[in-house]
């Protein structure tokens, strides 16, 4: 929590300004049709013909059974038409398998890359008596202590119990800049597979064997124990219901036809059934789910379950930490505000001197501002000087030089100090401090001995483009709440500048948890990010809890997603990916069902053509012949699966807009489009079949 | 379960008494008190204007070609492409033409009730010449009779204009003095 004025959070937060959602790291971006994946998927799609695999997907299982039926018919009464139908029905199943295999293949490729990292390393286990022994990383138990020095791979997940080190986490996050990890506090977690670049640390292993972060990640991207999400289950039920109802629709045509004196070909009946049941969405459903998780991985977010991704799409309230999400991590000195008749230059000079030893970004920004304003060079300090470092107790830092005692710090702290030095607070100080706070900035008071010189305004810089992102969220019906440790005045100012809907100032972990509970009681789903151990309860309570990878193990355990980039702005992307996942499912289901109309018009006339040629009037597409009509419909039905694989893997294009606009757009494209497209393509396929003299 | 059974029986008895006996009895009471003729089917010594009869032409105006058996109401239920309907209509067309009547829609088709008491004004006018000849009346007299018996649609638009064949024939009989 950025409620302390001058500490530097250091490390990972500094990288937060980088633009979100650039795929990198484990999630090496791959072209949609990577040759290797294509090849593997082709093989896998044949392997998946196993009925035991097919049985899990009721829609495609029906197609497979239908294929067997037409195959037997083709053997009994060989003919070009029957065989053509059989082949295309089989292709329909294979195409469905292919879609799933493609989605899985992309995950497998990533898993392989991760596995290579998990190569068996040796670890230096620290024994109770202080001696070390060499063990295989795989043999480490939870609670063991290991020593890692520069150049070592950290053998497993753990927490630093002693020491500080810079660590290269690029293997997991793709971020090449090393990060600092140290014992105690919120930056103590290390991940197995990352590399120590400098110093020596002692790490207590916190993961059971085989349950390290890396192991879980591999399982996740492979989709090894992928469970159907609630929404996917609901949709599967609907698709099964549609399949169940179309089954008797087709089966009873045999007795109906018999009554009417029409002989109905079994092959045509099977073709009709396959065309009517929702094969398009049935074939692509699991691919959509896998690809959705994959898209998250692409953005370096690991979701512990698909359920969490879906919940992200349902989120109605986003709790966002101010620092790093809404504002750049660091406050910048923007103004010198002298008090009690001192001039600005005097203040700037003192401020610069007081900050010389302050290596925090805030401190450096004061030095830079003074340099820019008054061209102060960094001076060679006289021999007689002593830096006064920041301490949580004094809440000040400064410099003693040439008998001057320069101090800068929180207003209350400096006032106390001045009083102790025998000075008094100038009358206009409080009003300036309040004005600065009200503007959303942080006031630092500068004093030279017993004299207060003025105030440095440290401005919180709101990230560029963040306001637009919040507007998008609002259009989607999502309420954004800024969480900050700042006082209410400062918080209100930044909240209005950033355009969030609400804020929680002077936030404590308890207040945060209470806010989440309250939102949930209203029936809202809440998403938040967090990194510290004290965030863990809130992360666990939130419906979507995104833990920063740089955070503590406790936080990562409590959340249901981990952001490897530790970029809290990612939460917005996660919400969009969740929505996109549902939209893709809904759109393709609608498309699939709307397709039925055209297929009916192609197949019904053909069904009873022998008895009632008059039914040809129903064939509005004027297809070449009854058999070419049926075959064209079946071919369309199979090819549309292949054609839609890229859409299923990439997801329907998501634009932030209100539900009503989104619906209208998608109904037009996938509903009306789904009605029209098959008419066009079935006709084209029929023309093609005729042109190549298939008939 | 037992409670449900008890309640089912109690409710059934209450509903039987109130809905099955009291309600229709109340309505019979109101009907017999205020609308005696209507409630009893407007029966006269010639029949009921509600129920069509078989009139053998051409002395009488003919109604629709129904069975006119009120104890077995209902349409003949021939399908629109049924040979039976084709034959039935054809027979009817021939019969009408033999009597010098131009076959009109209503005079050829069976009704919905099988006892339709009415014909459209056009159906009556189509018979005017034949009826006039058979009864030794002038076509003008018959036309005037028809005109005076046209009942307009309710409020001018609910339903269609019609002529009750029984009442028309009663008037015809009065005119010819056979009643």
């Amino acid at each position: 929590m950025p409620n302390d004025t001058l500490t530097s959070d250091g490390g990972a937060l500094a990288a937060q300004a980088s633009p979100p959602s650039q795929p990198r790291g484990v999630a090496t971006s791959r072209s949609l049709f990577d040759r290797e994946i294509l090849l593997e998927a082709t093989v896998a799609s044949l392997k998946k013909l196993d009925p035991r695999v097919q049985f899990r997907n009721p829609v495609m299982f029906v197609v497979l059974v239908g294929t067997v039926v037409t195959f037997l018919e083709s053997i009994a009464h060989p003919g070009l038409f029957d065989w053509s139908i059989t082949v295309w029905l089989l292709l329909t199943v294979i195409f469905a398998n292919f879609a799933e295999a493609m989605a899985e293949g992309r995950g497998k490729a990533q898993a392989d890359a991760l596995r290579r990292m998990r190569s068996e390393t040796e670890a230096r286990q620290l024994l109770d008596d202080g001696s070390e022994r060499r063990v295989l990383a795989g043999a480490l138990q939870k609670g063991d202590l290991v020593v890692c020095e520069a150049g070592d791979l950290i053998p497993s997940d753990g927490e630093i119990t002693d020491g500080i080190a810079s660590i290269d986490e690029s293997a997991i996050t793709g971020e090449s800049a090393p990060v600092i990890r140290e014992s105690g506090g919120d930056r103590s977690a290390v991940t197995g597979g990352t590399k120590v670049l400098s110093d020596r640390i002692v790490v207590r292993i916190t993961a059971e064997r085989g349950h390290t972060f890396l192991d879980r990640m591999i399982q996740l991207v492979e989709g090894a124990n992928r469970k159907k999400t609630p929404n996917e289950i609901a949709l599967t039920i609907l698709l099964a219901a549609l399949t169940i109802i179309f089954l008797p629709v087709v089966v009873v045509l045999q007795p109906f036809g018999h009554y009417s004196g029409a002989t109905v070909s079994v092959v045509v009946l099977v073709a009709l059934l396959v065309c009517l049941i929702p094969t398009t969405i049935g074939a692509l459903l699991s691919a959509i789910g896998i690809a959705g998780m994959d898209r998250l991985v692409q953005r370096n977010v690991l979701a512990m379950s698909g359920r969490a991704v879906e919940a992200a799409g349902d989120t109605q309230t986003l709790l966002l930490d101010k620092t790093g999400t809404i504002t750049l991590g660091n406050r910048m000195a923007s103004e010198f505000l002298p008090v009690a008749g001192h001039d600005e230059e005097q203040l700037a000079e003192a401020a610069q001197l007081a900050s010389l030893a302050d290596e925090t970004p805030e401190g450096r920004s004061i030095v830079v501002l003074a340099k820019n304003r008054f061209n102060f060079r960094e001076r060679d300090l006289g021999s007689e000087h002593a830096f006064v470092p920041f301490s949580a107790l004094t809440r000040m830092s400064g410099l003693d030089v040439d008998g001057r005692k320069l101090r800068k710090g929180a207003a209350e702290a400096v006032k106390l100090w001045v009083a102790a030095e025998g000075g008094r607070t100038p009358g206009d100080l409080d009003s300036i401090v309040e004005r600065v706070s009200r503007a959303g900035s942080t006031p630092l008071v500068v004093a030279d001995g017993a004299t207060v010189l003025g105030v440095i305004e440290l401005k919180d810089v709101v990230k560029q483009g963040i306001r637009e992102r919040f507007n998008e969220m609002r259009a989607l019906g999502i309420r954004t709440v800024m969480i900050t440790g700042d006082n209410p005045l400062t918080a209100a100012a930044i909240a209005s500048e950033a355009g969030v809907d609400d804020f929680l100032a002077e936030a404590t972990p308890e207040a945060k948890l209470a806010l989440i509970r309250q939102e949930q009681e209203d029936g809202k789903l809440v998403a938040m990010t967090g990194d510290g151990t004290n965030d863990a309860p809130a992360l666990a309570q939130a419906d979507v809890g995104v833990a920063m990878n740089s955070g503590t193990t406790a936080a990562k355990e409590a959340g249901n997603m981990v952001d490897l980039d530790s970029n809290p702005t990612k939460l917005l992307d996660i919400v969009e990916i969740g929505k996109q996942l549902l939209i893709t499912r809904g759109a393709l289901t609608t498309f699939s069902i709307a397709n039925d109309v055209a297929k009916y018009f192609a197949i019904i006339p053909a069904l009873f053509a022998a008895t009632y040629h008059q039914l040809g009037a129903v064939d509005v597409m004027r297809l070449h012949s009854p058999t070419s009509a049926v075959l064209s419909a079946v071919i369309f039905n199979a090819l549309v699966i292949i054609a839609l694989i890229p859409l299923a893997l990439r997801g329907v294009k998501f634009r932030p807009m209100s539900a009503t606009q989104l619906l209208r757009r998608n109904v037009w494209i996938y509903g009306i489009g789904g009605l029209v497209v098959p008419f066009v393509f079935i006709k084209l396929i029929d023309l093609f079949l005729t042109a190549v003299r298939w008939y | 379960m037992l409670l449900n059974l008890r309640r089912s029986v109690v409710i059934s008895v209450v509903f039987f008494l109130l809905l099955g006996l009291a309600y229709p009895a109340l309505m019979v009471g109101v009907g017999q008190l205020f609308f005696k003729s209507e409630a009893n089917g407007q029966i006269t010594k010639y029949g009921s204007p509600l129920i069509g009869q078989h009139w053998s032409g051409p002395k009488w105006f003919q109604g629709r070609p129904d069975a006119d058996n009120p104890m077995a109401t209902g349409a003949q239920n021939y399908g629109p492409k049924s040979k039976l309907l084709l034959d039935f209509s054809h027979t009817r067309v021939v019969a009408l033409e033999k009597e010098g009547i131009t076959p009109t829609n209503d005079l050829v088709t069976g009704s919905g009730s099988g006892v339709d008491p009415d014909i459209a004004p056009a159906d009556a006018y189509a018979q005017a010449r034949a009826v006039a000849r058979a009864n030794h009346l002038s076509v003008g007299q018959v036309d005037a009779l028809i005109k005076s018996h046209v009942t307009d649609a309710y409020w001018g638009f609910l339903g269609a204009p019609y002529i009750d064949v029984l009442q028309l024939n009663e008037a015809l009989a009065t005119l010819t003095g056979t009643r």
Partner: protein
């Protein structure tokens, strides 16, 4: 012209009733109307009921099923024993067991399929005390189920969905009885028969005709038959019989009455869930489909009867008069029949069998839509809500959120129940039609040959499964085979939908609502009405398309051939 004015009057009358009857029904089911307390209290006391104690969906459903079972037994017993009971002036005697079974199931399930001629089968006591009683109660049961489902949406975190007994008693006495009494008087004044006297024997001395004219307590049954979307008339000719439906005005009131509750319930729904616009979205879908179907059927009928034309009457002013009554004319007969088939009423004022092929298809497909446009009393609302749930699910996915309807999340369990309820009808119709055309006993049924014969079987089983009860006629239904299979269809079509609907009501009532936001899929828009229409068409019409191709479509397309 007269059709235009009729439609204007109908729409105006329905609009007014929609608003006022709709809000009155909401008040009745929310317990805000009390004026018949003196009648209610003793009933509850006798039945051992505490009217404030509500039931879980399981108890609600058990009460409903047990009551319906008892009701079937009561009707069955009464018509089996009618010979020994009073008010049988024509001495018809007992009704056969198979027919009694079919008839009892038929009236308890709000179907009113009649494999008998009323005028030659049923005593007055059977008509009034067995059949017409169920015309009240089966409507009340349907409405109660609809209200239970609406409560599922309007309540949050509630374990109960109302009290079945209180719901049916209140619906019957506060809603149905007052309207029935008022309209019975109008019907009697118009000439509908209402007497305890037996058939009138007349001998017309002018043309020598002897007739026995059936009478009875007809008007009182006629009104509740329409109002409760039942459809079972006292006489075989049903709404075409002059004793039931004597004038153009009663004809108009008939289709007004049968449409009024199903339409008005959408207002009740909107009112109870706190947004009339939600009700408007549903009624818009209903009106759109109804309008299209009426327009189509009306157009088909206006083109005249092909057989009559072939026999020499090419000029058919108004259209196909075969099987229609002169006093109603073609257009208003069609309006009656379309309204009757799309409300699960199933009364007819003409012969549906003699409609032109695609005109008949208009009536048949009106039922195949699932009886939701506007459907039966209560059943129309609860069935269209199932379709709405499926539409919400598809549409909701397309806006990227777990779909929700009226604040309730639609998840696996809701989809399962909605799909179950929505798919029962096509499944049962298709399978039993398949059985019927395969067995000699089934094939013996139809009167007509060729595609029309097939349509007659399909129509009969569609009508019974949809609890419509209109007959395409032309099917000898009073056989052991059709009595039994029809009874099974009616039971499945009623209870295999009601049970999932009640389960849905229970599941939804227990849920906590999700607050709506800009990301919520709006269900009170024309777009949503359009989606609901799409789902209805796909589940209703598309599943039957192949069967229709073999029936009315081919019959229409075959030129110059008679079967």
């Amino acid at each position: 012209m007269s059709l235009t004015w009729t439609l204007v009057l109908l729409v105006a009358a329905l609009a007014i009733a929609w608003r006022f009857l709709g809000s009155y029904m909401a008040a009745v089911f929310e317990g805000r109307v009390q004026f018949l307390g003196f009648l209610e209290r003793p009933i509850y006391r006798l039945a051992g009921l505490d009217r404030t104690r509500e039931q879980t969906w399981q108890r609600y459903g058990t009460s409903l099923v047990v009551y319906s079972g008892v009701a079937i037994l009561v009707v069955y017993g009464m018509i089996r024993l009618q010979g020994s009971l009073p008010l049988d002036p024509q001495h018809f005697g007992a009704v056969s067991p198979a027919l009694s079974w079919n008839t009892a199931v038929s009236f308890v399930t709000n179907t009113n399929w009649q494999n008998y001629s009323g005028e030659s089968t049923m005593s007055y006591l059977s008509q009034m005390g067995a059949l017409a009683v169920q015309q009240f109660v089966s409507a009340s049961v349907g409405i109660a189920v609809a209200i239970a489902l609406v409560r599922g949406f309007s309540r949050n975190g509630s374990p109960t969905i109302g009290n079945f007994w209180v719901d049916i008693v209140r619906c019957t006495f506060y809603v149905l009885v007052p309207i029935a009494i008022a309209f019975s008087i109008v019907f009697i004044a118009q000439g509908a028969v209402q007497t305890f006297a037996g058939a009138a024997q007349v001998h017309d001395v002018m043309n020598g005709a002897r007739q026995s004219i059936p009478r009875g307590p007809i008007a009182s049954m006629e009104v509740i038959k329409q109002l409760g979307t039942n459809g079972g008339g006292a006489l075989n000719a049903n709404g075409a019989a002059p004793q039931e439906n004597p004038t153009g005005l009663t004809n108009f009131l008939s289709f007004f009455l049968l449409l009024v509750i199903p339409f008005a319930l959408t207002y009740t729904f909107g009112k109870m869930v706190g947004s009339i616009r939600q009700g408007i979205a549903l009624v818009a879908a209903m009106v759109l489909l109804f309008g299209v179907w009426f327009g189509f059927t009306s157009w088909a009928e206006s083109r005249g009867n092909p057989a009559v034309a072939a026999a020499g009457v090419r000029y058919q002013p108004g259209g196909n008069m075969e099987g229609k009554e002169v006093r109603f004319g073609v257009a208003q007969s069609v309006l009656y029949d379309v309204a009757s088939t799309q409300t699960s009423t199933g009364s007819v004022d003409g012969s549906n069998d003699s409609y032109t092929p695609i005109g008949g298809m208009g009536l048949l497909t009106g039922m195949m839509l699932g009886e939701v446009t506007p459907g039966g009393a209560g059943s129309g609302l609860y069935t269209i809500l199932l379709f709405a749930l499926i539409a919400v699910f598809l549409g909701g996915l397309m806006v990227g959120r777990t779909p929700e309807y009226l604040g309730k999340k639609i998840q696996a369990r809701e989809v399962k129940l909605a799909a179950l309820g929505a798919l029962v009808m096509p499944l049962v119709v298709l399978v039993t039609t398949g059985v019927a055309v395969s067995l000699p006993a089934g094939r013996a049924g139809p009167l007509n040959k060729g595609p029309h014969g097939f349509t007659e079987i399909l129509y009969a089983l569609t009508s019974q499964t949809n609890n419509n009860g209109s007959a395409f006629a032309g099917l000898s239904g009073n056989t052991a085979f059709y009595n039994v299979i029809g009874g099974v269809d009616m039971l499945l079509g009623r209870f295999a939908i009601i049970v999932p609907v009640l389960a849905l009501a229970g599941v939804l009532a227990a849920k906590q609502p999700v607050p709506s936001s800009a990301g919520t899929f709006k269900t009170d828009t024309p777009l949503f009405s359009g989606l609901v229409v799409g789902v209805i068409i796909i589940i209703g019409a598309l599943t039957f398309f192949p069967a229709l191709a073999l029936g009315p479509i081919v019959e229409q397309l075959v030129h110059g051939k008679f079967f």
